[in-house]
């Protein structure tokens, strides 16, 4: 079963993104033979309060359960954010999203660490988006910096029960974080593959060997990016079926079920 952990619906503030609806996402999943998608709200990172966008996300996805799975956002700098975490859990979300850069928070500051701890207590993973755009094409008002590797290392050390799924990270960040953690700390993290280069640099193939193929999972970044990008990386990986199964959902299931 193939799970895409990195998809969105809703408007993007910096350009018109075609196909940012649940229906179009389903059409793309069918075309690419992806079984399930974890879906965030594409505008929520820039909202002062993500709660209305979370309500909208649940409304948009509810007709398409269980194939489209909502991943609400939490802003741990707001009063009562714990209620948003509980609401996400009650709504059956497999994870929550936090966007420190866009929300104006220190990426590994007090608020985000509190969220990591609270989510760990509830055994709820947190999705962190390393970046949304290549810096070279970012809108002049899109000033949130990429998540630094140092912050990811700090967050991975907050709790042995924390689970952090990082999307849109490239080789340099992944290596700096992974080899800057103990082997146990490193199991806190799962990396989504959409921003990792394929051949001829073959960063993905290298990372599967050096970091290990249990630390990666499939995600496309749709609708910001065409879903074929992540699929093409797997096409060209020359991976055996069991490795592909791990990358497209097996690692995710194992990581979620790890009792620690």
């Amino acid at each position: 079963m193939i799970v895409d952990v990195s998809t969105f619906v809703g408007p993007y503030p910096f350009r018109l993104v075609p196909g940012a609806t649940a229906e179009e996402l389903l059409r793309q999943l069918d075309r690419l033979r992806i079984d399930h998608a974890w879906v965030g709200h594409l505008a929520a990172p820039w909202h002062r309060d993500p709660r209305p966008a979370n309500t909208e996300l649940l409304r948009l996805l509810s007709p398409h359960a269980p194939r489209l799975v909502p991943v609400p956002a939490v802003h741990p700098g707001l009063p009562g954010w714990e209620a948003d975490l509980a609401a996400a859990r009650d709504a059956g979300a497999p994870a929550v999203r936090v966007y420190p850069g866009q929300q104006g928070l220190e990426p590994a500051g007090r608020e985000v660490q509190a969220l990591v701890l609270a989510a760990a207590d509830r055994r709820l993973p947190i999705i962190l988006t390393e970046r949304f755009e290549d810096a070279r094409q970012a809108h002049p008002l899109d000033v949130a910096p990429p998540l630094p590797a140092s912050a990811l290392r700090q967050l991975a050390r907050v709790s042995p029960d924390a689970r952090l799924l990082v999307t849109h990270a490239g080789r340099a960040v992944i290596e700096e974080v992974h080899f800057g953690l103990t082997p146990t700390e490193a199991t806190t993290l799962l990396w989504e593959i959409s921003w990792i280069w394929g051949p001829p640099e073959d960063d993905l193939a290298l990372l599967l060997e050096t970091v290990g193929d249990r630390r990666f999972t499939f995600g496309t970044g749709m609708p910001l990016r065409i879903g074929d990008g992540a699929v093409a990386k797997l096409d060209l990986l020359d991976a055996l079926a069991d490795r592909l199964a791990r990358l497209t959902g097996g690692n995710l299931r194992e990581w979620l079920q790890d009792p620690r």
């Binding site: 350009r15 018109l16 993104v17 075609p18 196909g19 075309r31 290549d134 070279r136 094409q137 002049p140 280069w197 394929g198 051949p199 001829p200 640099e201 073959d202 749709m222 609708p223 910001l224 990016r225 065409i226 074929d228 990008g229 699929v231 093409a232 990386k233 096409d235 060209l236």
Partner: protein, 265 residues
């Protein structure tokens, strides 16, 4: 057939110890994707002895020699662009003549001088006269200067194209950084400018936008340094519902039309 009109190779002079493996991986991934022609360049010593985008004359010559050698090592699979630095006008013109004589089929201009600079005029005129295209590195909407290059954007390349209506220009990597929507505003009415689809960027709407703006006839498939994104765009184009004829135009027929006649046979 599938022609990658934007490929690169490395040499011993490049500052990376894995240069042979990267070259081999390009050919291997190309085989899997179905690439039948890699049209490639080598950008000097890739920074080892002069900057990537400002190569010295010696580095230009060495790189072009290495490119010729690669073409000979892989006949009918690897084809070469002649790289020059327009700041050395006489050298650039002589190097182009030398490389075309050695069998190269195009000219690569990177970012040593802005595209609309008069120093590029003799090179464009020579390209037109010899019937070879110029692949020009482009920053899609350059809002400021970035270190290491004097990059051009579509406006500047379009200005050069307008001054040389008989030359054929390829605007490099629409997905290669910067704002591709800015480029689309420029290229619609520049008939001697083709769009290279390469680059790591795969924004939804980009391929639809390019198709809507210039039509199938001015699109060229390429990968640049990320063959996986090239393969992804090809998959997507084929799923968009284009006719087989249109897909063939993007895969190879448009390239066959702008490079010297019969060179890919």
């Amino acid at each position: 057939m599938l022609i990658d009109i934007h490929a690169h190779f490395y040499t011993l002079a490049a500052p990376r110890g894995d240069w042979q493996q990267v070259n081999a991986r390009r050919l291997e991934a190309g085989r899997r994707i179905g690439i039948t022609a890699h049209v490639a360049s080598i950008l000097g010593t890739w920074g080892a002895r002069s900057p990537v985008y400002f190569p010295s004359r010696a580095d230009v010559e060495q790189a072009n020699d290495a490119m010729v050698a690669l073409c000979r090592a892989h006949p009918r699979l690897v084809y070469g662009y002649c790289v020059v630095n327009p700041n050395y006008t006489d050298h650039a013109l002589a190097e182009i003549e030398r490389c075309l004589h050695e069998g190269m089929i195009g000219i690569k201009l990177a970012a040593s001088r802005r595209a609309d600079d008069p120093l590029l005029d003799p090179i464009a005129a020579l390209a037109a006269g010899r019937g070879v295209p110029i692949l020009h590195h482009v920053w899609q909407h350059r809002r400021r200067d970035w270190p290491g290059q004097e990059a051009s954007d579509a406006l500047e390349l379009a200005a050069l194209a307008a001054r040389h209506p008989h030359a054929r220009f390829i605007l490099a990597h629409i997905g290669g950084g910067g704002d591709w929507q800015h480029t689309l505003r420029v290229v619609r009415d520049v008939p001697n400018l083709w769009i290279d689809l390469s680059g790591s960027g795969m924004d939804t709407g980009m391929l639809e936008g390019v198709l809507e703006t210039v039509g199938v006839g001015r699109l060229l498939w390429g990968a640049d340094v990320t063959l996986d994104t090239g393969w992804a765009k090809l998959r997507y184009l084929e799923a968009m519902g284009l006719s087989a004829d249109d897909v063939a135009a993007i895969r190879h027929r448009n390239a066959e039309a702008i490079f010297p006649q019969g060179c890919f046979r």
